[in-house]
């Protein structure tokens, strides 16, 4: 069971440190867990794993395609590789390796793709990924997650170790606001209803879940009742929850730090269209554009992904109905 954090305005530990410490912890009881880096150990903190567990760390150099293939080979010999690089390099750059050496060959690769979307900050457009979820959703059998906070990230990484296959989680390297209380438990493929509401169903993923909760609070003051769902597993999508909670609502809204093509919004749209859900859908995300450089705060505003932007979109679409 999960519980909401008492103080949602405070931040948890850095997600990268959460990843590092979780992998280190898993290595204390599972000798099959291996960590791989592509020369970003200083950025991800994976150099700490290299120091603590040198015999279970593999430095692959700036060669991501090879890293994915090496991970596949480690899987062949029974290991559980956890690889890190920036989101675009963990997905877009190595897509064929992930697809064939990984998924098609039924190997296991656990992937932390860091700094998705606007969280890229100073690394800018070349390092931005608005399409990682879309790509990974295309891989048959892959599990695709967007971690809302450090508590959820830790749970996701440990859950990945329990099954075989391609498991992808995206997340900021830096600290993000707390959504969940320590010790919260989740279920892969099941969304979490974080706030009840009767008029609008708002489905978010990743650190935008915090902004979605802010937005719902803002709209409450304007007498719009918003239900907020954390759809941290984008694939497999919790269709049952989506259909059940959409029933009787005036509007369904998806909110993602990703392109609206192929991500959470697309996934929801596919289900709603096929199941003839008679509720309008608004997808809030990035539309057909590249990333750019700036602070994450600037970029979040620039791409219309703040709680205020979301509230405006909801009001506009809610009134249109």
């Amino acid at each position: 069971m999960y519980r909401l954090a008492e103080d949602r305005n405070s931040k948890g530990k850095e997600l990268r440190m959460c990843v590092v410490e979780t992998i280190q912890e898993m290595m204390t009881y599972d000798d099959k867990v291996v960590a791989l880096e592509a020369d970003l150990g200083g950025a991800s903190g994976f150099t700490k794993i290299q120091k603590s567990n040198p015999d279970r760390f593999v430095q692959c150099g700036i060669a991501e395609a090879n890293m994915v293939g090496v991970a596949a080979g480690l899987s062949v010999t029974g290991f559980k590789p956890y690889i890190h690089t920036f989101g675009p390099f963990a997905t877009r750059r190595v897509f064929d390796q992930m697809y064939l050496s990984g998924a098609y060959a039924h190997n296991t690769i656990n992937i932390y793709g860091s700094d998705p979307g606007f969280t890229v900050g100073a690394n800018g457009g070349t390092h931005t990924t608005w399409e990682d979820v879309a790509l990974m959703r295309e891989i048959p059998g892959a599990v695709v997650c967007d971690a809302a906070d450090a508590v959820q990230m830790e749970w996701i990484l440990k859950e990945f170790a329990k099954s075989e296959g391609i498991h992808y989680v995206r997340g900021n390297r830096k600290a993000v606001r707390n959504v969940y209380a320590e010790g919260s438990e989740f279920t892969l493929g099941k969304g979490n209803i974080l706030k009840e509401g009767s008029e609008v169903l708002l489905i978010a993923a990743g650190q935008l879940v915090s902004d979605a909760l802010d937005c719902a609070k803002m709209l409450e003051k304007e007498n719009i009742s918003v239900e907020v769902v954390d759809m941290f597993t984008i694939k497999p999508l919790d269709e049952e929850l989506l259909l059940k909670e959409a029933e009787g609502k005036q509007l369904v809204v998806t909110f993602e730090n990703h392109s609206v093509y192929g991500g959470l919004g697309s996934a929801a749209a596919e289900v709603m269209a096929e199941k003839n859900v008679p509720v309008p859908l608004k997808r809030v995300g990035v539309k057909d554009c590249f990333g750019q450089v700036g602070t994450p705060e600037f970029l979040q505003k620039e791409f219309g992904l703040t709680a205020e932007d979301l509230a405006e979109e909801i009001k506009k679409n809610y009134k249109m109905r």
């Binding site: 090879n66 010999t77 064939l100 060959a105």
Partner: protein, 288 residues
């Protein structure tokens, strides 16, 4: 290696070559040239060097083969069938819908196949990862990575080679089948590889170059590679695409051959007859 052992390997080579010719004719088409150029290598691996248990293909301590030039699957399947991994009748199901023997190797379908390959270059990294896993386990197992010289066009090969060399993964025996031809022409015409052996030396490998159709030389080179300490190892096979059948060696565009005319079928039947006669002990094979 004594004379009898060598003769056994030559007979195994002939059987593998024979199987390849028969299965591709039955199928009507297939990747002939690159399959024939690794026949003797497959014979030495499965006839002498590899540790495996055909009755228990998942045996924990087995050595592994990664055929990164996955289109040469027919040669591998023939070696596996000859050594009892599966019924030889399977060979005649190549590329049938639902077959266990797809054009490119699939670890989920074929006993004895530990890594799925076909998208060129990718097997190199997988083999590097397998060797890393063996080292982590401290098991002493070997992985034999078979790479095509045309395949070296793929950048991923060089990423993997620098990794294998950097970590001195000498239990990953890199074997480059230098048959000098790729789909659209000779390797020199398409993308000049220059001196492959020198390139591998420059990458930090211990390199040996041997005749690709010489079982004894291949075997010696593998023995020698296993003696190398503290350095990655590479064997370059100086081979001929379509090797062992003069007609196919000469045939332009022998990467993939269609068995659809009397000339090709006639040449194939002649080669089959010669191989069968050799296997039965009735004749010498003409090599080189």
């Amino acid at each position: 290696m004594d004379k009898n052992q060598l003769q056994d390997l030559k007979i195994l080579s002939a059987k593998i070559r024979l199987d390849v010719l028969k299965m591709l004719e039955k199928r009507g088409y297939g990747h002939l040239g690159g399959s024939l150029s690794i026949v003797e290598l497959m014979s030495v691996l499965y006839g002498k060097q590899l540790r495996y248990d055909a009755a228990n293909p998942k045996w924990e301590d087995r050595d592994m083969v990664v055929l990164s030039k996955g289109h040469a699957g027919p040669a591998w399947y023939s070696a596996l069938a000859e050594q009892g991994f599966f019924d030889k009748e399977w060979l005649y199901t190549l590329n049938d819908g639902g077959t266990n023997l797809p054009s490119h190797p699939d670890r989920l379908k074929t006993p004895g196949v530990d890594m799925t390959t076909g998208s060129l270059g990718q097997g190199t990294s997988a083999a590097a990862g397998i060797a890393t896993g063996f080292r982590m386990k401290g098991s002493g197992q070997y992985v034999y990575l078979i790479v095509g010289d045309g395949e070296l066009n793929e950048g991923q090969c060089w990423e993997a080679f620098q990794y294998i060399a950097h970590y001195k993964l000498n239990h990953c025996v890199v074997i480059i089948d230098e048959n000098k031809r790729q789909l659209d022409g000779t390797t020199k015409e398409i993308m000049n590889p220059f001196d492959v052996a020198e390139k591998m030396r420059a990458f930090g490998f211990h390199v040996q170059k041997v005749k690709g159709n010489d079982e004894e030389a291949i075997d010696k080179a593998i023995d020698c590679a296993k003696e190398v300490e503290d350095q990655a190892v590479c064997i370059v096979l100086d081979s001929i695409k379509g090797s062992g059948v003069p007609y196919f060696e000469q045939l332009a565009g022998n990467h993939s051959v269609k068995f659809n005319n009397d000339e090709i079928l006639g040449a194939n039947h002649e080669a089959i007859k010669a191989l069968e006669s050799f296997i039965e002990g009735g004749s010498e094979l003409c090599t080189d």
